[in-house]
């Protein structure tokens, strides 16, 4: 007879969730309604991307970075391009930098819209998800106009961007930016300040600043705990040091600082800031080159470099060791969701099952990044 601990019920919230953030398996041990432990099992989506990087050349790896975090594809492209450019020591023309910032921030908005939507549908309010998707269609149209694809863009390349902005992009983008803040207000009225929603999320799963730093939590989750750390301000890349935007931090408006509501609200605030950034960038656009002159056969000098960028979900880092040939020797990807997920077992002690869903949704993880 197996020695089963009869007080606790061990259940597997298996790889297939209806309210899914990917294929994640959680082994949950409950004592009636209250959890005592939750352990994540990952690896269902492992595609050996880091190994693939050792057999393709540098420009060939760009489409693979799209598929790391497919909702924030431009940002992942950007981090990889910046890594190789640092090793090559090339300078990007100004117009290319501005276009990169525009694309990265628009992608931040669309990624946060999905995070917001799927979180609200986990909580039981199904409408904001569809509203988020509707807004996202405008952004997708903008991207499709520019690079031809709606999800995996492969647009930000080593040396600049692959194509210049098409005609009509600036007008269409300005139209979207005028329309969007009204929608944010609507989301706040519909969901963010809804009493039931606040009741579900306030004071749940508080991440203290010390814990956040210990576990390596980054992105909106870190800022919600009160620590003002944003790579766009701390280590500015591209032209972020010329732009005027705020870094929202969690203030514990509806409960303690760092609870699930704060993490959710961070994303709404960041969407507002991103619209501000894109508006400034659209005004700063001047004619110029959209890419630097990059040799067809890229052979970066031997060396190692680590570059990080501020993804919508946290800090994405690429550690690249080059041995002077056309293919990387080793490419290690530091995925933000991996570190964010590591704090889940600590947060899940002593909460109810319904809260576990809230915790996963508020951490905003995405599995392709974790499993690579």
């Amino acid at each position: 007879m197996v020695n089963v601990d009869e007080r606790f019920m061990e259940v597997s919230m298996g790889p297939q969730h209806p309210s899914t953030h990917g294929v994640l398996r959680l082994l949950v041990r409950t004592d009636g309604e209250v959890l005592t432990a939750a352990r994540p099992y990952i690896g269902y989506l492992h595609r050996a991307l880091e190994k693939i990087a050792e057999r393709v050349t540098y420009p060939q790896f760009t489409p693979f970075t799209d598929r790391l975090d497919y909702l924030a594809s431009m940002n992942c492209n950007l981090a990889y391009a910046m890594t190789v450019e640092k090793l090559l020591n090339i300078e990007i023309p100004r117009r290319a930098q501005i276009i990169r910032v525009i694309m990265a921030e628009l992608n931040r908005i669309s990624s946060h819209l999905i995070a917001f939507g799927s979180f609200s549908s986990d909580m039981g309010a199904f409408t904001p998800f569809l509203f988020g998707i509707r807004e996202r269609e405008f952004i997708n149209d903008l991207f499709e106009m520019t690079c031809g694809s709606r999800l995996t863009y492969n647009y930000i390349r080593i040396g600049g961007v692959s194509k210049d902005l098409p005609e009509g992009f600036i007008d269409k983008a300005k139209e979207f930016l005028d329309y969007f803040p009204g929608k944010l207000k609507e989301y706040n009225e519909l969901l963010s300040y809804n009493a039931i929603f606040i009741k579900r999320l306030a004071n749940i799963a508080v991440i203290t600043p010390e814990d956040a730093l210990d576990y390596g939590v980054t992105g909106p989750n870190l800022r919600a705990s009160g620590i003002k750390w944003d790579l766009r301000r701390e280590e500015p890349y591209l032209i972020y040091n010329e732009l005027d935007f705020d870094i929202p931090i969690g203030r514990g408006e509806m409960g303690t600082i760092g609870d699930a509501w704060d993490r959710y609200m961070m994303r709404i605030y960041e969407m507002e800031q991103s619209t501000k950034i894109v508006k400034q960038c659209l005004d700063m656009l001047a004619p110029g080159d959209y890419t630097a002159k990059v040799p067809k056969v890229l052979k970066p000098p031997a060396g190692e470099v680590y570059v990080r960028a501020e993804n919508p979900r946290g800090e994405l880092g690429f550690y690249l060791i080059s041995d002077g040939s056309t293919k990387p020797y080793r490419l290690k990807i530091r995925a933000p969701s991996f570190a964010n997920l590591s704090i889940l077992p600590k947060l899940a002690k002593g909460v109810m099952i319904a809260d576990l869903i809230a915790i996963i949704g508020s951490l905003d993880i995405i599995l392709p990044e974790i499993d690579r």
């Binding site: 309604e33 039981g124 509203f131 319904a354």
Partner: protein, 372 residues
């Protein structure tokens, strides 16, 4: 209908007993089939309406491919569910598993009996109509627990127990708020209650306008009844369960359809009860004493009754697609700390009003001032 049946029975007073038995059985079967057909048609259309309303609220179109405007969607769904494989888990308690959906459906369908749709169209004139409906609806909670236990699934049992706790707790505000309205006509007979609300331009003698306590009682009753039928924001048995499992997770095909349809049937019954008691039943507003043939008046009354009921059902659907879900303990807190005390004090206030003013409502007092 009762008069028709009485007539048939008196005509048969002289026939042989066996013929009388057969005729009685035939009457029972025919009337059950008629009521079942109407109930099933309503429930099918209710699923279609829910999807259409959901589509409207979510800025999209609901089903519109199957049949004109998608009206035959419920037929397609029914055929699909009938054709699904009927799976009974190996270790399930067969008897309980099979019987549970039938009992749920029967209970929900049996509550259609005391409702009266117009002055001459009703199925049975029960002297204790309101009590009968409340009693039969409670059978649903027992049958849910049977289904949950019979599934031999830990999560189903969880969901089932929560469902029972929810339904049983919310019966108290339901009954208390109904009582605040029943003490005025002082009868449990549905037809008498509607007859009490006649006159006054067809709208001002509704019990909801009778005194401020019944006004609040209506809202308390409405909220508690949403919890009785397991709709969002109180749908933890059926949907949170979509995150984990649920009391109807092991049911496939038509068995699942029974649970599903019973929910819509319950919605109808509960809304019909609210209409009868608070909104005047089939009283046509603003019609005065216009002379019209009986059949026309009946049709109009049926239309008005269904209009009011469907308005309440629309509000239930509207609430479902707007609000997120409550957690179990918050749901219980809402019931015991907010609704029950309110309903209780409401009842006391209503009783004091009836005692002091001898059952006269606000409208009666105002017209009383002008009449002398």
């Amino acid at each position: 209908m009762t008069e028709l049946i009485n007539e048939i029975i008196t005509r048969l007073a002289n026939a042989a007993p066996i013929i009388r038995l057969l005729v009685v059985i035939a009457i029972i079967i025919v009337s059950s089939v008629i009521v079942l057909a109407v109930a099933l048609l309503y429930e099918g259309l209710a699923t279609y309406a829910e999807r259409k309303v959901a589509g409207d609220i979510q800025a999209r179109i609901g089903p519109n491919r199957v049949g004109p405007y998608g009206l035959l969607q419920f037929v397609a769904d029914g055929v699909k569910l009938l054709l699904k494989e009927d799976i009974i888990p190996f270790y399930a308690d067969k008897w309980l598993f099979i019987i549970a959906p039938y009992i749920v459906f029967t209970a929900s369908f049996a509550a259609f009996v005391p409702l009266s749709y117009s002055e001459h169209i009703y199925i049975a004139n029960l002297n204790v109509g309101v009590l009968y409906i409340l009693a039969i609806s409670s059978v649903v909670s027992m049958a849910i627990l049977m289904g949950a236990w019979g599934s031999n699934n830990k999560w189903s049992l969880f969901g089932g127990m929560r469902a029972v706790a929810q339904i049983v707790s919310y019966e108290i505000p339901t009954v208390l708020s109904l009582l605040a309205a029943i003490i005025i006509p002082a009868s449990l007979n549905m037809r008498d209650i509607i007859a009490y609300q006649s006159g006054g331009l067809g709208i001002f003698r509704w019990l909801i306008f009778n005194n401020p306590f019944t006004f609040f009682a209506f809202f308390i009753y409405f909220i508690a009844s949403i919890a009785e039928v397991n709709r969002t924001p109180f749908d933890i048995p059926e949907a949170e369960s979509e995150i984990v499992a649920g009391y109807h997770t092991e049911y496939t095909g038509m068995r699942f359809a029974f649970f599903f349809m019973a929910e819509y049937g319950d919605m109808f019954v509960v809304s019909a009860l609210a209409t009868t008691l608070f909104l005047g039943g089939w009283q046509i507003p603003f019609i005065g004493n216009i002379v019209m043939p009986v059949w026309l008046k009946d049709i109009l009354e049926v239309a008005v009754f269904f209009g009011k009921v469907f308005l309440l059902i629309y509000i239930m659907m509207w609430i479902r697609w707007t609000l997120p879900r409550l957690r179990v303990d918050q749901l219980m807190e809402l019931c015991w700390k907010y609704l029950t005390p309110f309903a209780f004090f409401n009842l006391i206030g209503a009783s004091v009003w009836v005692l002091l003013l001898h059952g006269k409502g606000v409208y009666d007092i105002i017209t009383g001032l002008f009449v002398h």
